[in-house]
């Protein structure tokens, strides 16, 4: 009951401003698709066995999901902390595990809603086929969960909006941009190629794309394992934060 209430509050929070939380990412993502398609200058390059835009589309959908899942939890916690109404969540008889679950579920819901909206909008421009629905679904959920949990941690850690902006600029954006959304990591020089394999964002993009184009840069099973491992690790960390009240309780 308490868990459900907090979850519904989290979903209403972004549902109320759907123009900003759902439509805005659709517009931005389509712009990205447009500039890459235009910059390619009509060249018919193949990446991973498919035309470039088909390679790019799943990555962009995943990027939008990831960014919005992160934004949902991080901004929710951050704003509650600054406005002081975080006590409304800490006071009721909700355990640390329930808090983590409610926030994370809210972020995952936003991630999936955005992903669906962006994917539907893209079908107008790029032929999208589904090869492995299971992979698509798993990576959509696991990646949204991962970013939601990172968002919880960032929201708890940050004390000002500037901290959050810095975290987004210096951590989230580089990881997301260098994840292989826009290019196949196969083409990177040796050092950077190995570095990319230590980026969890790489696996979520790669596995998600595998579900669409049937080609992956890393073994798909490894991707599943990395995401599950990362989610568990982050879950425990977020749980510990709520448990101890790190930067939440005076």
């Amino acid at each position: 009951m308490g868990l459900w209430t907090l979850y519904v509050k989290e979903v209403r929070r972004f549902g109320k401003v759907a123009t900003q939380t759902i439509i805005a990412p659709v517009v931005t993502t389509l712009l990205f698709l447009a500039i890459f398609a235009l910059a390619l200058g009509g060249g018919s390059r193949q990446v991973g066995g498919v035309p470039f835009t088909q390679f790019l589309a799943p990555g962009l959908v995943m990027m939008a999901m990831a960014q919005n899942a992160f934004a949902n939890t991080s901004s929710s916690i951050m704003i509650s902390k600054i406005q002081g109404n975080i006590v409304d969540m800490l006071m009721p008889p909700l355990s640390a595990g329930e808090l983590t679950l409610a926030f994370a579920a809210g972020g995952v819901t936003r991630g999936l809603a955005v992903g669906l909206a962006v994917a539907l909008a893209m079908t107008a421009f790029v032929p999208i086929e589904i090869r492995h629905a299971g992979f698509i679904l798993f990576h959509a959920v696991a990646a949204s969960l991962m970013l939601s949990l990172i968002g919880i941690l960032a929201g708890v850690w940050a004390e000002k909006f500037d901290h959050m902006a810095a975290f987004t600029n210096f951590v989230i954006t580089p990881f997301a941009f260098l994840s292989g959304t826009f290019y196949s990591v196969e083409r990177l020089p040796e050092f950077w190629k190995s570095a990319a394999h230590f980026n969890p964002f790489f696996y979520m993009i790669d596995g998600f794309r595998y579900g669409f184009i049937g080609h992956a840069d890393a073994p798909p099973a490894l991707g599943l394992a990395v995401l599950v491992g990362a989610d568990i690790l982050l879950w425990i960390t977020a749980y510990a934060c709520f448990r101890r009240g790190y930067r939440l309780k005076a």
């Binding site: 517009v27 447009a34 060249g43 600029n169 941009f177 826009f182």
Partner: protein
């Protein structure tokens, strides 16, 4: 500033005592007030300079890297100009545009929401001086961001053949355009949501489809027309001319278009400030 006890005129009862402060006198333009507003705004922007400028530089570097990696096989965007060299002036102008807009819009909206805009509305500044103060400060912030990006990106391409006069002309008119656009948006918006909507649905499409990231020569007729109606295109293309000596258009008409637009937006912002649009109860 000269202070004179006789400033209040000839009415003997209105003459202030020897210790009472007398009104400041200034000529047609309150330069001191204007400079103070300008300094306050630039300082505001630079107070978190490491985060702000670092963030701008990092995202420009990421864009460059991603485009380079994704589009290595793309044809040369301009004859004899590599993709990276083509992108650098585009990315510089994109950051100038974004930061000029943000600096102006955030400052005004924040002031309105917190009520601190009264500090700008009550001093003896004319509407034109207020707009000039905000616009110049926001453009300066944008130019500082652009300079940072230029320094960060320049090592990745052969050293550019910069032409100073066009560079200053296009950087300044482009920055002012977006600063004034930001002022108007900040005045129009009543909540952060409104401003975010303007950014998502107007500013970002304007900037992304300005030809900063792709050559516009191969676009279909309608796309080409849309680009020509986009003021940001003239700023990007003009800056590219100043940076590389190569551009898609003849830069002179572009400079004229930008100057006229700046004047038009300045006049619009002036009128809004003078009428107190969404500023006074």
């Amino acid at each position: 500033m000269p202070v004179s006890g006789a400033a209040t005129g000839s009415r003997p009862d209105a003459r202030p005592g020897p210790t009472a402060p007398a009104p400041r006198r200034f000529g047609r333009v309150n330069w001191l007030g204007l400079a103070t507003l300008y300094r306050r705004e630039v300082k505001r922007y630079l107070s978190e300079w490491l985060e702000t400028l670092g963030g701008v530089a990092v995202s420009a570097l990421l864009f460059l890297a991603v485009f380079h990696l994704a589009l290595e096989a793309a044809p040369q965007p301009l004859p004899g100009v590599s993709l990276v060299a083509f992108l650098i002036p585009g990315l510089i102008m994109v950051s100038v545009a974004q930061k000029s807009f943000e600096a102006a819009a955030y400052s005004i909206l924040f002031g309105k929401l917190e009520g601190t805009i009264a500090d700008v509305l009550t001093p003896p500044l004319s509407a034109g001086e207020r707009v000039a103060g905000y616009a110049c400060a926001a453009a300066t912030s944008g130019l500082i961001a652009g300079g940072t990006v230029a320094l960060a990106l320049a090592p990745f391409a052969p050293w550019p053949r910069i032409q100073l006069l066009p560079l200053i002309c296009f950087a300044v008119t482009g920055a002012l355009f977006h600063a004034l656009f930001g002022i108007l948006s900040g005045l129009k918006a009543e909540r952060w949501d409104n401003l975010a909507a303007i950014q998502t649905f107007a500013l970002v499409p304007l900037i992304y489809l300005s030809g900063a990231f792709f050559p516009t020569g191969d676009l279909p007729e309608a796309g080409r027309l849309a680009v020509l109606l986009n003021p940001a295109y003239y700023a990007v293309d003009g800056l590219r001319f100043a940076w590389l000596g190569r551009s898609e258009l003849n830069p002179m008409p572009g400079a004229a278009v930008l100057t006229l637009l700046d004047l038009a937006l300045f006049a619009a912002a002036w009128r809004l400030f003078a009428s107190g649009y969404k500023l006074r109860a």
